[in-house]
Amino acid sequence: MWSSWSHARRLTVLTVVGTIVLLPIVIFVLGPNMPPGKNTNVGDQQVFDNTVLLVVMTPFTVFILAYLLYAVFTFRADPAEPERDGAPIRGHMPSQVAWLTTTTIAVLFLAIFGSAELLTSGAGGGQGPKPIAKPSGSVLPVQVIAQQWEFTYRYPTYGGVETAQLEIPVDTEIAFHVTSLDAIHSFWAYELGVKADANPGVDNIAYVKSKQTRDFQIRCAELCGLWHGYMYDTGKVVTHDEFTTWIAQQKQLYAGSLKYLPPYSTSYAPDPTFRAG
């Protein structure tokens, strides 16, 4: 029978070795492959954020799993022996204090780190009508209008044209103004790392700047009724020239319907939106 100290030493070695082995895998293999991918500035940030979370979790995970396995194999009673009780240990103040200190430090670090990340760019999340994390410089506003069960997109700086497809120029700071005409939806552009709920009567703003041209999936991420599962779309990040051409085409295409649209506004009140009239 070993003493407590030798058990503790072996566990420490297991935890440290396990952590040292796993950390490079986490940082260099798992980390770069974390969602949502490094396609945009906020995507970069989220990948980095996810990697940091994994790194912080690794030692705790290794410790608890190593402990669990170690305990089950080492402290297991031999069924052949007569039943005996274990050591009557009711607590151990130093380990309790050590655990409390370690977890507190980890938690406070994560909270401060996450807040700092959040406040630099908003991390692609919807920030409501008065964003606190705004990019400096000029932004291209794109309104995302969700309704049961599709998204349409309005470009207020291009005469308020409303399109059925989403195209955004590369290397440009985009401000998505997400709103809804009926139920709550959520605008989720996975590869961009953007998610913002679409609430009726609310202008929910999320910023993103794409680094490269590519297609991206758009899905509704909040249950919005019957055809929620079919509320998806593909958007495009294109070059500036392509975007200019495309938006000119769209203006021409939708010129007829534009005059029937309500003037651009942060939210719309289609009639009737509620049930009892």
Partner: protein
């Protein structure tokens, strides 16, 4: 069975009066008329009639069970009938009975049946998700199945451990003969059964399109099936609130001599912290649902942004209840975990005070985190750092539970009996659940994971991996005590291993699928995710099959094999195992006195067992 039994107040009369009440309410509802309700005439919907039908039906059901007898007879000045106190015979399980042990077993069977239905819904969901396109259920049926699964589980499992195990064992553990309010105790059970039945009637009224969250304004658009959801959750809330208050009063006022707060078994502390949450959170749910009801019937506009309301109000109110709710599900599991570990590690509970602090800390913090469900909703973007901090702070008290569990294993003499296997699996599952929760609590990471399969897999790891594994651990640990018969160990071990492996093989990949961008509650998904989804579905079917092994074992061991378990099958030193199995009606001949040590395990520890004089077993 005597004739008096047949025509008296029992399940039969309850069903008759319940149906009669339903139609009475339906008729009454149609008598209410007015300009703002005239709208119903166009669509064939009459929510007022359906709400009244549910309300009067439930009242009729309860009157039929005999809940009105006592108050009415006391009001008339007559001696009350004591039928509800009848002490023998199997028929007492099918009606109003105020014996806490009967109520416990009623809960176990009743809730078990509804969990089984909820689990079947999960199988139907996974069947649909075998292909990327809709193939089995149409969009409306799929949403209804998803909603029924979520609502049934979240509603019924709130009492999943407190119902059966706390009702049965808390009075025994604190040395009492009954709960503080035995009639209310019975009422909580029958309310829950009525609620579960009402939820299923939503199928007859067009289903539920909202999932278990019931977000506005979608809930306001929905057809009458939504009323079943509202009535269900309101009744569950009422049952929860009463159950919580009953538990609190029982533990506060009915502890036997010597049973000071520091000597309560840790399971009782888990129950207390849960009961606090139930008593404080459920009223919020009930009042929120009242507002939803008024929006749907009297055309108020609490949640209608066009005329001064706000859907945010619903989201805030719902999650102010909803987050404590998930800890209502998790905390009793922690109680069972820490109750099982000392018995099979043969050691005292490590860090008793730390564990109590952890449970109460979780209970307190759970009221301060609700807006993390609204991180991307656009409300109060500037307070997100606070909710990020408060959410991550919850991992501190949760960490206490972990360190206490691990400390209890330290240098123990671990016996891997079936309840112990479930307890160890709890630690593993809840670890994954907790770690995945860190991603959701961190706003930048939550932007991608929010509303995806990742968050779904996360809460299944905590609720199914935590609560349900603890529930089964509790079943294998305590049901031999409750019935007097052993489980077949071989079948139990098969059940455990299949369940554990299939559970992880189901929800582990779902975490990845969520990371890859699949949202929750969708009937279609991207084609490249099909392989993973098929894997998950097959694992889920195996997981479902493991439940059949359990049901077979339960019926086989308890009804057919009937191997006596003896008073103390696990060598536990807790008081309930010093009583005969099953526990006699009055628990104790004399109220026991308790020594200073709730966990007198360990080599060289003087066993200060409680002084117990069991009551005579019933004939």
């Amino acid at each position: 069975m005597s004739l008096r039994r047949l025509i008296g107040f029992n399940l039969l009369s309850a069903a008759v009066l319940g149906v009669a009440g339903y139609y009475l309410g339906w008729w009454l509802g149609h008598q209410i008329n007015g300009p703002s309700i005239a709208y119903f005439g166009d669509t064939g919907q009459n929510d007022i009639a359906l709400f009244l039908a549910y309300l009067v039906g439930v009242i009729g059901f309860l009157v039929g069970l005999g809940f009105a007898n006592y108050p009415v007879q006391r009001m008339l000045g007559k001696p009350p009938s004591l039928r509800e106190k009848e002490q023998a015979g199997w028929t007492r399980y099918f009606g109003l009975c105020t014996d806490h042990k009967v109520v416990g077993i009623q809960y176990l069977i009743g809730i078990g049946a509804f969990i089984f239905i909820g689990g079947l819904n999960a199988m139907l969901i996974r069947y649909e998700l075998l292909t990327p396109n809709q193939h089995a259920w149409n969009a409306n049926n799929y949403l209804t199945i998803v909603s029924l699964h979520g609502t049934m589980m979240m509603g019924m499992m709130t009492s999943g451990i407190l119902g059966p195990f706390a009702n049965y064992f808390v009075p025994i553990m604190i040395g009492a003969r009954r709960m503080a309010f035995p009639r209310i105790e019975a009422l909580t059970f029958w309310l829950l059964m009525a609620a579960g039945f009402i939820l299923m009637t939503s199928l007859a009224f067009g289903g539920i399109p909202t999932g278990w969250t019931g977000y506005e304004p979608l809930a306001n658009q929905a057809n009458m099936g939504m009323d079943a959801y509202i009535a269900f959750f309101a009744l569950v809330g009422l049952s929860m609130c009463l159950l919580g208050l009953n538990m609190l009063v029982t533990v506060i006022t009915m502890r036997a001599p010597g049973m000071s707060w520091g000597r309560l078994p840790i399971f009782v502390w888990g129950v207390i912290s849960t009961a606090v949450l139930m008593a404080l959170a459920a009223p919020v749910l009930i009042s929120t649902l009242l507002m939803v009801t008024l929006d749907r019937t009297a055309q108020t506009s609490f949640f209608n942004d066009q005329v001064g309301g706000s859907p945010y109000l619903y989201e805030n109110l719902f999650w102010f209840f909803g987050h404590p709710e998930v800890y209502i599900l998790a905390l009793p599991g922690m109680g069972i975990l820490l109750e099982i570990l000392p018995v099979f590690a043969r050691k005292p509970l490590w860090g008793y005070r730390l564990a109590v602090t952890g449970m109460l800390g979780i209970a307190l913090l759970s009221f301060l985190v609700w807006q993390h469900h609204l991180f991307v909703s656009g409300i109060n973007a500037d307070v997100r750092p606070f909710y990020m901090l408060s959410t991550e702070l919850i991992s501190l008290p949760t960490g206490f539970i972990f360190i206490c569990a691990l400390g209890t294993l330290w240098r123990g003499r671990i016996r891997l009996e079936v309840p112990m296997l479930f307890a160890l699996a709890w630690i593993f599952n809840f670890l994954i659940g907790g770690l995945s929760g860190v991603f959701l609590s961190d706003v930048p990471s939550d932007v991608t994971t929010h509303g995806s399969f990742f968050s779904m897999a996360h809460f299944h790891y905590t609720i199914m991996g935590g609560l349900l594994f603890a529930f089964f651990g509790g079943i294998y640990f305590w049901v031999p005590k409750m019935t007097g018969f052993k489980f077949n160990e071989r079948l139990a071990k098969i059940h455990f291993w299949v369940m554990f492996i299939a559970f992880n093989s189901t929800f582990g990949p779902l975490l990845v699928i969520g990371f890859l961008g699949m949202p929750r509650r969708v009937v279609t998904y991207a084609g490249y995710l099909q392989g993973a989804n098929v894997w998950v579905s097959v694992s889920a079917f195996v997981l479902g099959a493991s439940m059949l092994v359990f049901v077979y074992n339960l019926v086989y061991s308890m009804v057919f094999a009937r191997v006596p378990a003896g008073a103390n099958p696990w060598g536990s030193k807790s008081i309930e195992f010093q009583l005969p199995s099953p526990v006699p009606v009055h628990n104790f001949d004399r109220i026991p006195t308790f020594g200073p040590d709730p966990y007198p395990y360990g080599e060289g520890v003087a066993v200060t067992r409680p002084v117990v004089a069991p009551a005579r077993p019933e004939r």
